[in-house]
């Protein structure tokens, strides 16, 4: 019985005696466990299935949890190596006193078990309570009550146990490996043996710079949202890899270069800080890179989700330009006849009148829509020929949505009275530029472009995120000659014949939604069999939506996103703070002896303070600066992604980005102040202990 308890007791003693080292370590483990649980929990429980884009949010969260797991692994290895350096001495002594390596391994097992038990249980408890707390805040962010599950997630717990079980096992194996392959004397002096100063690795540094540069290039040059979406994750991975390489070897390089500059290096405030930074950078580089990545993630997430949340009114208005938005689609040009559109408008006006309202601020026009690749004034509609036309041209960025609009509707829309020849056209271009005198459709007509610089045509098609061109022509039938018969690879016609009828009413939200539903019912009244929809007026499809109804959906979606953004930001910020705090603490203990020596050699307290400040400032604000640079380069690509959600306001996004950066920097500075204080206390206490 006694022998059975011997090793656990020795392990417990080891942890207790090294409290100063173990406490921050356990704290770090606990924090990591907590964060991982929270992210898993959100991914499993907080994203409603009904939410628009629930899948992509989930995959983003999965990426987030993978990132946290990798961070946890890297970071715990870093903290553990620090711990092992201290503990080796003790193990060396045990070894000399006759304890076998096997027994030491056993102690290590129990120690790891103790740390794992404490940090997993505390981390899970904290994670569960914190996630509940966060949910309460969530209800506030959403404009309306969303059914919410306030329960503990078993899968999230299991997943957390799995991941951290593996991490702790790896840590244990690594520790055993270190003890296994070192002699007793090596262990005994493990802490004191002079560490080799790191060599600057040019190759890795250059590689890091190249990868980062590549990622920046992608982010800046991408023109259209669809490509942006595809490349976004690639760019993110490249930025992460580049940051790590750059920080780990690039920072050593940088320090070495500065050390070569004699006038700079041999200054009291730079001398000590620069040399110890150069010495430590290799191990610290990973920590700094992690802080940088976490900071970037926080900034990107919070700025973009805040932009979505605060800009949703705009987005709703753009997507649904009027209170009631109705679109009909027809099989051919017949549906766009004056009679049909008059009949439709009359019927809808009557229905609106039944609801004691009157359409106002009407946006109505007919159009024939088709998409194609526009290069040098020539349009290719056939998808199979596009590759042969586009030589070195970014295809996605030059695919246009073309809307042929009857001149009469165009005139009504812009309030002009223009007349055109048969082969003449007026164009309005959106999200792109077009300079040219003619526009020619391959297999169709060629138009002479008539100059038009007055008010832009309001097309009200909020869903169009690609470049778009409205072509006003006097005769639709003439205009689409040739292309009307074209078929795509599925044998379907390529043109869409649309009638839009959007209008405002003076109705309350509820009545408006009711009106919208009754219009919908009446329009579909003749469709008796499900599946084979038939709509009055010869249309094959209609969409009738009210802005109010959709506003609620938007609030639900963007509220959720904003909430997730906030939670993840808090979690990532916490992770960054933990890393910073641990770095300061561990470095403080390492530097204790150094500063004690320097005081003996004649360094004043003032010198020490100066040197610490110079060191901390660099170490602290390097990641923040790099994160700001990442953010600046991420700005264009994220702006493109926001277009997918129908957000166009650059100013709003710039504002949320700027505010996020400022708030984060302030918070970061506060953390800096705090940890710098802790560091200085440790270092300046050194004198009393050593004198």
């Amino acid at each position: 019985m006694k022998a059975l308890l011997f090793y656990p007791k020795l392990a417990l003693d080891g942890v207790r005696k090294n409290k100063r080292m173990y406490l921050p370590y356990i704290l770090t483990c606990t924090g990591m466990v907590m964060m991982f649980y929270i992210i898993m929990y959100i991914g499993i429980c907080s994203v409603p299935d009904s939410m628009m884009g629930a899948e992509s949010v989930r995959s983003m969260l999965a990426l987030g949890s993978a990132v946290i797991a990798v961070f946890a692994c890297i970071f715990l290895f870093y903290t553990n190596s620090f711990l092992m350096r201290r503990r080796k001495k003790e193990f060396g002594l045990y070894n000399i006193l006759g304890m076998g390596k096997r027994s030491i391994a056993r102690i290590l097992c129990f120690e790891t078990l103790i740390v794992a038990l404490i940090s997993l249980s505390m981390g899970l408890i904290l994670g569960i309570s914190f996630s509940k707390l966060a949910e309460l805040g969530f209800v506030n962010i959403m404009n309306e009550d969303v059914s919410f599950d306030l329960s503990v997630s078993l899968p999230a717990i299991l997943r957390t146990l799995e991941v951290f079980g593996v991490i702790f096992l790896l840590l244990l194996l690594n520790s055993i490996r270190q003890v296994r392959f070192a002699s007793a004397m090596q262990l005994l002096h493990g802490e004191n043996t002079g560490e080799k100063p790191p060599r600057a690795n040019w190759l890795l540094g250059i590689l890091g710079a190249l990868i980062l540069g590549g990622a920046y290039y992608i982010a800046v040059t991408i023109k259209d949202p669809i490509t942006a979406l595809a490349w976004f994750f690639v760019a993110v991975l490249m930025v992460i890899a580049g940051t790590y390489l750059l920080m780990i070897s690039g920072s050593v390089l940088f320090c070495r270069l500065l050390q070569k500059k004699k006038g700079y290096y041999y200054k009291p405030s730079h001398f000590v800080s620069l040399s110890s930074m150069a010495f430590r950078m290799k191990r610290n580089g990973a920590g700094l890179a992690s802080i940088c990545i976490l900071a970037t993630m926080v900034l990107v997430m919070i700025s973009s989700t805040a932009c979505l949340y605060f800009g949703e009114e705009n987005a709703v208005n753009q997507r649904y330009p009027r209170d009631i938005n109705i679109t009909f689609r027809f099989g051919d040009l017949k549906g766009l006849s004056d009679q049909t559109s008059k009949a439709i408008k009359r019927d809808i006006d009557n229905m609106t009148a039944d609801a004691e309202a009157e359409p106002s601020n009407i946006l109505s026009y007919r159009s024939v829509a088709v998409s194609g690749l526009l290069i040098d004034g020539k349009v290719e509609l056939d998808a199979s020929k596009i590759s042969s036309v586009a030589h070195g041209v970014d295809v996605m960025a030059n695919v246009f949505q073309f809307l042929f609009v009857p001149l009469s509707d165009f005139n009504a829309n812009v309030g002009e009275d223009i007349s055109l020849e048969k082969d003449e056209a007026i164009i309005c271009v959106y999200r792109h530029e077009f300079e040219g005198d003619t526009l020619s459709f391959n297999g169709g007509r060629t138009f002479r472009i008539k100059k038009y610089e007055a008010k832009k045509f309001e097309h009200g098609e909020g869903y169009i995120i690609s470049p778009c061109m409205v072509i006003a022509v006097p005769d639709l039938e003439y205009a689409i000659y040739g292309i009307a018969d074209m078929r795509d690879s599925l044998g379907e016609g390529m043109l869409q014949y649309r009638l839009m009828y959007d209008f405002d009413t003076s109705l309350e939200a509820k009545e408006e939604i009711a009106l919208c539903r009754s219009i919908n019912e009446k329009i579909y009244s003749s469709s008796t069999h499900a599946g084979e929809m038939e709509i009055n007026y010869g249309a094959y499809y209609s969409s009738i939506s009210s802005r109010e109804e959709n506003r609620q959906d938007f609030y639900g979606m963007f509220g959720t996103l904003f909430y997730i953004g906030i939670i993840l930001s808090i979690v990532f910020t916490l992770a960054a703070v933990l890393i910073i705090y641990y770095k300061q603490l561990s470095e403080g203990y390492e530097d204790e002896a150094r500063f004690s020596i320097m005081q003996k050699v004649g360094m004043t307290k003032k010198d020490i303070k100066k040197s610490i400040n110079s060191q901390l400032l660099t170490v602290f604000f390097l990641p923040l600066l790099l994160a700001a640079s990442h953010l600046a380069f991420a700005f264009p690509i994220i702006r493109k992604l926001l277009l997918l959600f129908g957000f166009e306001s650059v100013t709003l996004f710039a504002a949320t980005t700027g505010i996020s950066l400022i708030v984060f920097a302030l918070f970061y500075a506060a953390v800096y102040k705090l940890t710098a204080g802790a560091y200085y206390k440790i270092v300046s206490d050194a004198k009393e202990q050593n004198a």
Binding site: K196, G263, P268, F271, S275, G602, T604, D607
Partner: protein, 254 residues
């Protein structure tokens, strides 16, 4: 002219949580002339480390005064002590106290950098010293790449590069093998001949035999002193050894 004058020095330690007061130094009086090489000997607990700490301005005496070049150490403000140490004192420690983050060269520069000297000035000061101490080859190396003896030489170079009024050495050979120890002691002798004043605390008879004068401390007081006179190292060694034996037996008799 006496460069260092110690009068009526007393140091009492009061334990933080009560208990017995410890009298480390009772009444120490001695003076050191410019250009002297003085060894201070004594058993563990005789108070020699306390004495050295007070001379180094690392600790303050309970009573008595230390005048360095006519200047009372106790009059220096706490904030200026480190700068004072840097300008006037050079240190050599048992455990070298060489910083592993610096090259040997940068370690030697440290006090000069703190004093705000330019790289050219420092380099000019270093060349003759490096030659004298035989460390030219290792200047660009890091501490982990050199031996203990070489580290200690670098420490000596660091101590003398500021041209201090007094060099304080605390068991400088304590962590070295006998060959390296001899090297260091010969270096002390030769820098002493160049005009540096040295006070060395040691309990090695061998080390003390390189000095010009040996002070023996016992129970917090200067008990006895020996001058070398015209003796060779071997003769002086014998004298010190005899004195120690005498002191030890005398101590027992008391």
């Amino acid at each position: 002219m006496a460069i260092l004058k110690v009068t009526g020095l007393k140091k009492t330690y009061v334990p933080r949580f009560g208990g017995n007061r410890t009298e480390a130094l009772k009444n120490v009086n001695f003076s050191v002339e410019k250009g002297e090489f003085v060894a201070i000997m004594g058993e563990s607990g005789s108070g020699k480390t306390t004495l050295l700490n007070i001379l180094a301005a690392l600790d303050r005496p309970t009573k008595g005064s230390v005048l360095l070049d006519g200047f009372d150490l106790s009059e220096i403000k706490e904030a200026e002590i480190a700068a004072y140490r840097r300008k006037n004192l050079g240190f050599v420690f048992q455990e070298f106290n060489i910083l592993d983050t610096f090259t040997i060269e940068d370690n030697i520069y440290l006090p000069l950098v703190l004093a705000g000297k330019s790289h050219d000035q420092m380099h000019k000061a270093l060349i003759p010293i490096a030659k004298e101490l035989g460390i030219e080859e290792i200047l660009k190396k890091y501490p982990y790449e050199v031996s203990g003896g070489q580290k200690q030489r670098a420490a000596v170079a660091r101590a003398i590069i500021t041209n201090p009024k007094l060099i304080l050495a605390d068991e400088p050979t304590g962590a070295l093998d006998s060959r390296s120890a001899d090297d260091i002691l010969r270096i002390f002798s030769s820098i002493n001949k160049l005009g540096h004043t040295i006070i060395m605390v040691t309990h090695s008879v061998k080390a003390a035999s390189f000095a010009g004068r040996v002070l023996f401390i016992k129970d917090g007081e200067v008990f006895h002193q020996l001058y070398r006179g015209e003796d060779t190292n071997e003769q002086f060694y014998q004298k010190i050894s005899d004195t120690l034996t005498l002191l030890l037996s005398g101590g027992e008799a008391r």
